[in-house]
Amino acid sequence: MINFDSISFSYPSKELFNNIGFKIDKGEFVFLIGESGTGKTTLLRMINMELFPSTGEVVVYGYNSKNIKKPEIPLLRRKIGFVFQDYKLLNDRDVFENVALPLYLAGLKPDVIKKKVFNILNEVGVFDSYKKFPVELSGGEQQRVSIARAMVNEPYILIADEPTGNLDPFVSFEIIKLLLNINLKGTAVFIATHNYDIVKRLKGKRLLQIKDKKVLDVVIKEQG
């Protein structure tokens, strides 16, 4: 589904990755960890084709970073659910409209949009807030809306960049539980985080660790 093959990436002042490679398959639940500034967000942005590697290729659902055409990028992004640390909700529209936006972009009919939006809002637990604007919601609620927006298109993979970064530990774990539920229903989940407490609690999950410009592929060990 996602394949990073011999990727190197540098910013003008810093080399972030040197010949890294990994795959993420359907239905997987994968954490991406690493110190601040090691390139977690950069790596996720390569999946979204916001950034392109200096060498090597990223293949996402058959779209190859080497030869993807500009008009194809929006089509790829519609197949990926993206959740951000700062939620990135549009403050000039209410919860319903925020979540419905990807469906409008996909050209669905209003009655289908309504049904899908209410279903997903119910699933993530913010159904009652559908008329509220983002500023009227708590951080946890905003992140749930952001997850709803990412999931409403039924993507194959949900990518979350520090989804608990702005949340307290209790709410953070609630969000992770929500992501686990989404994964149980078949959607692959790829989470970049530096919240090691959460990572440690999820034994048996796959872990990608960025260290010394490389990506190490490990599994979180079961205790005892």
Partner: protein
């Protein structure tokens, strides 16, 4: 994409950025108004110069005692000179009447006799109303022994020629300056407005909006602002020009108010200004997409 989506987004942008939309509309209105006033003044000043040039003619003063037959021959000869449109004979008596009209006094009250000579008033074709060409015609006229003197408004014509060139240069320069400052001003105002929507554009891109989906509501907004602004400008311009028309129109000069075609062109200019302003300002945010 459903057109109603674009329309809803367009209305949303108008609603959420009221003051920015207002500023852009006012800036477009002022730019179009400035251009309209300038073009009106410019066209009327050129018209005024033409009016002055139209009045340029040659007076050939005749010696006394010319026989009618000789006069007819002379008139006919002069008509054959290149550039001469028509020749009118002004007798001594007619000259006295013109004097009385111009100065309000009978010439015989000033002198005991009429010293005014008979003359030929020579009208020229427009393209011959330049100092060089008139001098050539004058050279031909003085060869006739019946003609005593040839005069024309040489100094006025000199001033006219000098100033008409400056006026054309000034008009062109001002036109370029006003047009470019309008584009710059409107472009900057719209850019500021779009900058305030930077986050929205960024989020739209991240969730899979196409360029067109992001761009269309902004273009609609630019079109709307341009259209509204230029309509406002045209209304103000009409009120302003009506005042000028009533103040500056007299028997000699008919102040030209711009016709409907010109006003439509101004509206098109303002609308294009708004629409292109939006399209160009958006390019920065959609470039790498």
């Amino acid at each position: 994409m459903n057109p109603s989506y674009y329309f809803k987004e367009f209305l949303r942008y108008l609603k959420t950025a009221k003051s920015a939309v207002f500023s852009s509309t006012v800036v477009i209105a002022l730019s179009v108004l400035l251009l309209g006033i300038f073009l009106t003044i410019s066209i009327n000043s050129v018209k005024l110069l033409k009016l002055i040039r139209d009045k340029v003619e040659i007076d050939a003063y005749l010696n006394d005692g010319i026989q009618p037959g000789a006069l007819s021959r002379l008139s006919a000869d002069i008509k054959t000179i290149g550039g001469v449109k028509n020749v009118t004979y002004i007798s001594k008596d007619e000259a006295a009447k013109i004097f009385a009209q111009d100065f309000g006094q009978d010439i015989l009250e000033v002198f005991d006799y009429n010293p005014l000579p008979a003359s030929l008033k020579i009208n020229l074709y427009d393209e011959y109303k330049t100092i060089d060409r008139i001098e050539k015609i004058k050279g031909e006229l003085v060869k006739y022994k019946e003609i005593n003197d040839v005069v024309y408004a040489q100094k006025n014509l000199e001033i006219l020629e000098r100033n008409s060139q400056s006026l054309v240069f000034l008009n062109l320069s001002l036109f370029v300056i006003i047009t470019f400052s309008s584009i710059f001003l409107v472009g900057n105002t719209i850019r500021l407005m779009i900058q305030s929507k930077k986050d929205t554009i960024e989020i739209m891109k991240l969730i899979g909006s196409t360029k067109e989906t992001i761009r269309t509501p902004f273009i609609m907004e630019g079109f709307f602002q341009g259209f509204l602004g230029s309509i406002l400008a045209v209304i103000i311009l009409q009120i302003f020009l009506s005042y000028f028309y009533s103040t500056y129109t007299n028997n000699d000069f008919n102040f030209t108010i711009m016709d409907t075609k010109f006003l439509i062109l101004l509206v098109i200019f303002g609308t294009l200004l708004g629409t292109l302003g939006s399209a160009i300002s958006l390019r920065k945010y959609l470039r790498l997409y």
